[in-house]
């Protein structure tokens, strides 16, 4: 698979599923098995507990990930105790997560382990940079695209997206939804100077004037925009929004007469919660959105099988996806040597 070479160019990579059961774990396991032959030191961790709340409650269903001898992994104390792999402990963090402290260990054999990690953006960034102390070249992050999770996979340099029948059982729909995420990931980043100035600001809505001055609009969140519409454009048309971008906000901006001058800046693409229809309508009218933190999408993995056994035509799906996204597309079922057909009980050709 060619994208393994591509991965080696980055210091950090997140693997993100667009929905549960889109084959993220298969994809991650595949990447890990391929990287096991690499000369680079690999580390593996996760954002939070995968954003799956049920996981914390039942402490089950969390797929295990296969680490290979020599790889470093970071996981919570609780999951470390349950590991199958033989590993040498290198560090125990002083901060705790909901599942205990974080244990950094080096695998001494190849076997399965459950991975959980820090929950916040800052903590993940810290963790990635701390990995240098253990001579790590590439840190893989098991990420989640969830509104519930605080941590965003956009903190990593590169990203692999896992999508599939679990998201939509209709090929054009699935391609459309995946393409929307791809468009959001591809949003342009602001200049470095502006980025450094905006990154530390943790709340509120700010405008950046023509002269580059920052003004706090003293609006807590876009959810309260109704009450403060009059304030919005008093200092300029470039607006930095800390929280989420909603349909309501984009619809409001779309009908403004200076729409072509409006530029919204968000922390990263995961903050855009608007529906694709609203987003595209906003862009069509000439509005622009930029991000502070940009990540590069290097490949998309597809899983044609949905959890209820429903199966899409994988060749058709792959082709449709490739045409639209112009990115390398891989079928996770084929990656790990599974036979697609054997998994499909009720294959429906479209």
């Amino acid at each position: 698979m060619p994208f393994i070479k591509e991965i080696e160019k980055y210091r950090s990579l997140s693997i993100v599923g667009l929905e549960k059961n889109t084959g993220k774990t298969e994809c991650l396991n595949y990447v890990l098995s391929r990287l096991s032959g690499s000369t680079k030191q690999i580390a593996l961790t996760s954002i939070g507990i995968d954003g799956e709340n049920s996981d914390l409650v039942t402490q089950t269903h969390k797929p295990e990930i296969e680490v290979h001898e020599g790889m470093i992994f970071v996981t919570s104390e609780l999951h470390y105790q349950k590991k199958k792999v033989l590993a040498e402990i290198l560090d125990v963090s002083s901060q705790t997560t909901s599942l205990g402290r974080l244990v950094t260990a080096k695998a001494k054999s190849s076997d399965k382990v459950m991975i959980s990690g820090p929950a916040s953006n800052a903590a993940i960034k810290d963790l990635i940079s701390q990995m240098r102390n253990f001579n790590v070249d590439i840190t893989l992050v098991d990420g989640a695209l969830s509104r519930k999770s605080l941590g965003s996979p956009a903190v990593t340099d590169a990203m692999i997206l896992a999508t599939g029948a679990a998201l939509s059982a209709n090929i054009p729909q699935l391609v459309y939804k995946t393409n929307y995420t791809y468009d959001l990931i591809s949003l342009k980043a602001v200049g470095d100077e502006l980025k450094e100035r905006l990154l530390p600001i943790q709340k509120g809505i700010w405008t950046i004037s023509e002269e580059g001055e920052l003004f706090d609009l003293e609006i807590e969140s876009v959810l309260l925009i109704e009450k403060a519409k009059d304030k919005l454009f008093t200092q300029g048309n470039r607006i930095f929004v800390n929280g989420a971008i909603t349909d309501k906000f984009l619809n409001f901006l779309r009908i403004q007469k200076q729409i072509k001058e409006i530029e919204i800046i968000v922390r990263d693409f995961t903050r855009i919660f608007a529906s694709p229809e609203t987003y595209y309508a906003f862009i069509k009218r000439g509005g622009r959105i930029k991000v502070l933190q940009k990540t590069k999408l290097i490949a998309v993995c597809i899983n044609p099988v949905s959890p209820d056994g429903y199966c899409l035509n994988s060749d058709e799906l792959k082709q449709a996806m490739e045409e639209k996204l112009k990115l390398p597309i891989y079928n996770v079922r084929e990656l790990n040597g599974h036979l697609v057909e054997s998994k499909c009980d009720s294959r429906i050709d479209r």
């Binding site: 105790q81 033989l86 402990i89 125990v92 244990v103 054999s109």
Partner: protein
């Protein structure tokens, strides 16, 4: 009393403790769990340790202290694991890792401090623990059940590896059954090895605990010395009789003033085992004097240097303060009632001839002046009779003439109208204390109110009232 409790009562103390450069959470816990000390030899022992580092900080070996601090940053609080080993439990890999990495850091600190001519603090040698947990002698802070603990384990691990590769290559021929058996066998041996390791560690548990304490203590004394150095604190002498400060200051207030380029005027004060009144104009810093006295007393008895140029301090068993900024409404008491409850406690301690330091700000100020004055004189009389080390600030005149009185000089010169205003009044105020025999107290309230720019009508009318009397 623990420092943890004291800082919740004295804001200035809390501020100082928070500004300390403690490197480990272990050190922080140790510090907060320190008990107030009542014996001069104990205090001097601690001050000797602080003083040693204090003098190193001003010498050429200061770099070594910084190196030790960097090591202290790596120290983790492993109290739980130590407790488990002391109660002869089998620890898990994470706990064993913690013990090993602590033992290694502790050993590195020990080596660093051996570079000094005299040791800073006694740290036990943990090399026996290290050798138990580091069978391959890597001296790297990492841990697992190494192959070298058991040749049997090493053999099984090799077999597992071989079998796994075989299963991967040909899943039809090899079933997972053998693998399961091998895995559970290796787990059993690992558990047995862990048990053996813990048995071997058990005799060193108390050494480990002592090392943990000593390392924490080292963190604390370094932080105390740095604090003293940063704020220009001094080592107090413990006195048998009088308490005397030369150029005493309140570190937090001095810092705040320095931010606006103002200077804190240090105070000289001497106290006997009797009552001492402090009188003086409003805004003359009487409350600050009381707060600083309390702060200094706590600092010394928790083994810190004190904010003064020179200090002779007599030790006390308790410090009783009434500064009237607590929230009496919450207790359902009026401000007078809640003050009286406090004063009662002080008076009772005094009658029992307890060795206490009593600090009262504007005693009985919330009631009428006639009875208020009577209360002040009565309380002072009791303190005097029982030789209680006490300071009482007041605005009342006609105080008991047997009592010692100090007066803040205040605005004791004449100034042109408009020369002083609310922003520069601090520059004109002379905060120093003088012995005062006068029965009267300075009447400067109206003058200061005028400077503060309050409505002129009040001042005119008040002055007329005074003349008509």
């Amino acid at each position: 009393m623990k420092l943890r409790t004291a800082i919740s009562q004295v804001k200035g103390l809390q501020h100082l403790v928070e500004s300390m450069q403690l490197q480990s959470s272990l050190g922080k816990r140790y510090l907060l769990d320190t008990f107030m000390m009542y014996q001069s030899n104990k205090i001097n022992q601690e001050l000797d340790l602080v003083n040693h580092i204090y003098s190193i900080l001003r010498g050429k070996n200061v770099g070594l202290i910084h190196k030790i601090q960097t090591k202290l940053m790596q120290v983790r609080d492993i109290k739980g694991s130590v407790k488990n080993i002391m109660s002869n439990l089998v620890l898990d890999d994470i706990e064993l890792f913690e013990i090993k990495s602590f033992a290694l850091v502790s050993d590195e600190i020990l080596k660093l401090q051996n570079e000094f001519e005299t040791t800073l603090i006694e740290i036990p040698d943990l090399n026996s623990i290290i050798s138990i947990l580091d069978p391959e002698n890597n001296r790297i802070p990492s841990f697992y059940i190494y192959d070298s603990y058991s040749s049997e384990l090493a053999g099984i691990r090799k077999e597992i590896k071989k079998l796994k590769t075989a299963i991967k290559a040909d899943p039809e021929r090899y079933t997972g059954q053998n693998l399961e058996a091998l895995l559970s066998q290796s787990e059993e041996i690992e558990a047995e090895v862990r048990g053996r390791i813990c048995e071997k560690l058990y005799p060193f548990a108390s050494e480990l605990e002592r090392a943990l304490n000593q390392v924490a203590h080292l963190d604390v004394i370094i932080a105390k010395a740095i604090l003293a150095n940063n704020f220009a604190f001094t080592r107090a002498h413990i006195s048998d009789s009088t308490t005397e400060y030369k150029a005493m200051f309140h570190p937090q207030i001095r810092e705040t003033l320095a931010l606006s380029n103002k200077k804190f005027q240090a105070i000289d004060i001497k106290l006997n085992h009797s009552v001492c009144f402090i009188t003086g104009a409003n805004m003359a810093g009487k409350t600050v004097i009381l707060k600083t006295l309390a702060l200094c007393q706590y600092l010394l008895q928790f083994g810190f240097f004190v904010p003064a140029q020179l200090a002779h301090i007599s030790l006390v068993h308790r410090i009783l303060v009434s500064v009237g900024d607590d929230q009496s409404e919450q207790n359902g008491l009026s401000s007078f009632a809640s003050e009286m409850v406090k004063i009662n406690e002080m008076v009772e301690a005094s009658i029992k001839k307890e060795n206490v330091l009593v600090l009262v700000d504007e005693l009985a100020r919330t009631t009428n002046p006639t009875e208020g004055r009577a209360i002040v004189n009565a309380v002072a009389e009791i303190f005097n009779e029982n030789q209680t080390l006490s300071v009482v600030t007041t605005h009342y005149s006609n105080l008991n003439s047997d009592c010692r009185k100090l007066r803040v000089k205040g605005l004791d010169k004449d100034f042109k109208a408009g020369e002083i205003n609310r922003n520069n009044i601090n520059d004109y105020m002379d905060y120093s204390l003088i012995e005062d025999d006068d029965l009267k107290v300075p009447h400067e309230a109206l003058r200061i109110a005028g400077i503060l720019g309050i409505n002129q009508q009040i001042i005119e009318k008040a002055n007329n009232n005074l003349l008509n009397k």
